[in-house]
């Protein structure tokens, strides 16, 4: 097992180096000199430009610059945002909990609804419910989620007035961030009604971001369950006279979960992609909308640091899923 984990980790190293290279090159591939870009329209005197270039080490050969960059990254120094002058890492850490909260809720939403629906469709294969679920999930899978968000706002916020349109909390509350998760922080505070407000703000973004994972989880659970239900041990369990709840719930589901867990883990990457769209629709103050703003403001240090952090995180989650998969399924450990 240890050997398996070590192999997987060693496979990740080149990918990580590649991500470092990509984020390093990013700022240098952008047309124009990073310093000139920073000063933009106002322009900069040639002497001052040369001085700044020397200060930032931009006159050094590329490999020296890369080694320098690695040194900074290793010390947790990801540069300073051009527009706010705050360290990139600080800004990232302040906004990251909002994205995690949204992502976790979306994933929970997808699992809570997708798993039972998939199991039920598999058990009732060929039924009306099965067909309905399959077509709904294919529609969900094809959904342009930025439009889905607009539609839900149109229905629930504008027509029915049930949910707020944007942000994480109504403006009348102020919650000091302790954990960064608004649901927990608002519960800990003594502001009455803040928790409900946070919850109401969270519902629509959760549904929007959770739609595609929901479709994926439901489809994967159904097909994996169908496969498992044909196995000999299911027939044995039935022949032993176990209740069908036990057969399906314990013997079936436990084995059907292996590929589902993998799929859930692999959704993390696309979830972050979806978060970019969701956060920008609902003005959700998270990492993804921060990155989009950075692009619009041409704030390249933020983009560089953000890409490095997000890609590394996705990589680590994929590694964790891989290892978890190996633990659940000893057959692939070789």
């Amino acid at each position: 097992m240890l050997r398996f984990i070590l192999t997987r980790i060693s496979l990740v190293v080149p990918t990580f180096i590649g991500i470092l290279l990509l984020s390093f090159m990013l700022i240098r591939l952008v047309p124009g000199d990073p310093i000139e870009v920073r000063f933009g329209e106002r322009g900069i005197a040639p002497e001052r430009l040369a001085q700044l270039r020397a200060e930032m080490g931009l006159d050094q050969p590329l490999y020296v610059q890369f080694l320098d960059y690695l040194g900074h990254v290793a010390r947790g120094d990801l540069g300073v945002s051009i527009s706010t002058k705050n360290p990139v890492l600080t800004e990232f850490l302040a906004l990251f909990p909002a994205t995690v909260e949204l992502g976790l809720c979306a994933m929970i939403f997808a699992i809570v609804f997708g798993l039972p629906a998939g199991v039920f469709a598999a058990v009732k294969r060929g039924s009306v419910f099965d067909h309905a679920l399959m077509s709904t999930s294919l529609t969900g899978f094809s959904m342009p989620i930025f439009w889905w968000g607009l539609l839900l706002i149109l229905l629930f916020s504008v027509q029915l007035g049930w949910t707020p349109v944007s942000g994480r909390l109504a403006a009348l509350y102020y919650i000091e961030p302790t954990t960064g998760f608004m649901l927990i922080d608002s519960l800990l505070s003594d502001e009455k009604g803040a928790f409900l407000s946070a919850l109401r703000h969270l519902i629509l973004p959760t549904v929007v971001l959770g739609t595609i994972p929901l479709a994926v989880v439901a489809r994967m659970t159904r097909s994996s369950m169908l496969e498992v239900l044909n196995e000999d041990y299911i027939r044995t369990a039935r022949a032993k006279g176990l209740s069908s709840f036990r057969v399906i719930g314990i013997h079936g589901l436990r084995n059907a979960m292996i590929p589902v867990v993998t799929v859930i883990g692999l959704q993390v990457g696309s979830l972050l992609g979806g978060a970019i769209l969701t956060e920008s629709i609902f003005a959700w103050p998270g990492v993804a909308s921060w990155l989009i703003e950075a692009i619009n403001r041409r704030d390249y240090p933020v983009l560089q640091g953000g890409v490095l952090l997000v890609a590394s995180l996705v990589m680590l989650v994929n590694l964790a899923v891989d290892v978890l998969y190996g633990m659940l399924n000893p057959r692939i450990r070789r």
């Binding site: 080149p14 591939l29 094809s142 959904m143 930025f146 439009w147 970019i276 989009i292």
Partner: protein
């Protein structure tokens, strides 16, 4: 040469002439209702895209200043002049959708053409060259897969600058790893077959082996991936357009039409609803057809 030996006749349906592989796939495909609906929708969409200039009642970019935010015909205040209503600066939404169909088909086609083309070359090179070349290519693909595809596309657009053409390049690059991995995997399994060895012994050069001997036998999964690639391309390009990084106004790209439409949810639901519906239906049609193709081609893959 006995023809009967080349393709086994299906036992269920005795026919005089053996089925060609394409016909066999078609017979399977035809039984899938969803896939057929998807295919008809796509054919209709392509016709609309080709005849956009004839079908659209108005120009997609002309602004009718006297008719701002006119509701669609079936709602009070609507008129047959603007069947699906007008947007905030008085452009006919139906005409913009029709011209947008042309853009979406072109986007899908170019993206799939580029990513399939480069993906096949890279994948086959990796499968044939092995060693360092293979490791380099496949590691690069792994890195690209480690980033969320939309984020990678955004980063590429940030480097190249926003615009429809750059968005297409970005989406092509993002979909490249899927085609490369698929091409490599199917080429590797074909390479162990005897017909490849015999072609090699007969003196076929590497290029001929790659593209004439092996590639045609890898086409089934690649065709499926290409169909699904169409829907991804349209979806990603629309997302970039929505974020203001793809096609720029006044281009009638469906995603771009939705950018900034959030401010109209209260006053003009039609501005928000129709472009997204067009994206959803198109993507759904390609996904239905892709699924149907996969099922139809699958027995061949297993054989």
């Amino acid at each position: 040469m006995s023809e009967a030996a080349a393709t086994p006749t299906p036992q269920t349906e005795p026919v005089s002439a053996p089925l060609t592989p394409a016909r066999e796939v078609w017979l399977h495909f035809r039984q899938n209702k969803g896939a057929m609906i998807g295919m008809y929708f796509i054919i209709a969409l392509v016709i609309v895209a080709i005849l956009a200039d004839l079908l659209a009642p108005h120009s997609p970019i002309v602004q009718y200043r006297e008719a701002l935010l006119v509701p669609p015909v079936f709602q009070d205040g609507g008129s047959w002049r603007f069947i699906l209503g007008t947007d905030d600066i008085g452009r006919d939404i139906l005409s913009r959708l029709i011209h947008g169909a042309r853009l979406s088909i072109i986007i899908g086609f170019i993206v799939v053409f580029l990513s399939l083309g480069f993906g096949v070359v890279l994948g086959l090179s990796a499968a044939f060259a092995r060693g360092t070349v293979e490791i380099l290519i496949m590691r690069l693909m792994d890195i690209m897969l480690a980033l969320p595809s939309l984020l990678l596309a955004i980063v590429i657009v940030a480097i190249l600058g926003p615009g429809l053409f750059n968005a297409m390049i970005a989406v092509s690059i993002v979909s490249l790893p899927h085609f490369t991995r698929l091409a490599r995997a199917s080429a590797m399994s074909e390479l162990t077959r005897e017909y490849v060895s015999s072609a090699r012994i007969a003196g076929a050069g590497t290029l001929r082996l790659m593209f004439r001997t092996v590639l045609p036998n890898c086409m089934a999964p690649l065709i499926v991936q290409a169909t699904l690639g169409f829907s991804n391309a349209i979806l990603d390009a629309a997302a970039l357009g929505f974020l203001g990084l793809g096609a720029q106004p006044p281009t009638p790209e469906w995603g771009t039409m939705l950018a900034g439409s959030l401010q109209y949810v209260q006053r003009a639901w039609w501005v928000v609803t129709f472009p997204g519906l067009a994206i959803l239906l198109t993507v759904l049609a390609f996904n239905l057809m892709g699924d149907g193709l996969r099922d139809a081609l699958d027995p061949k893959l297993k054989r």
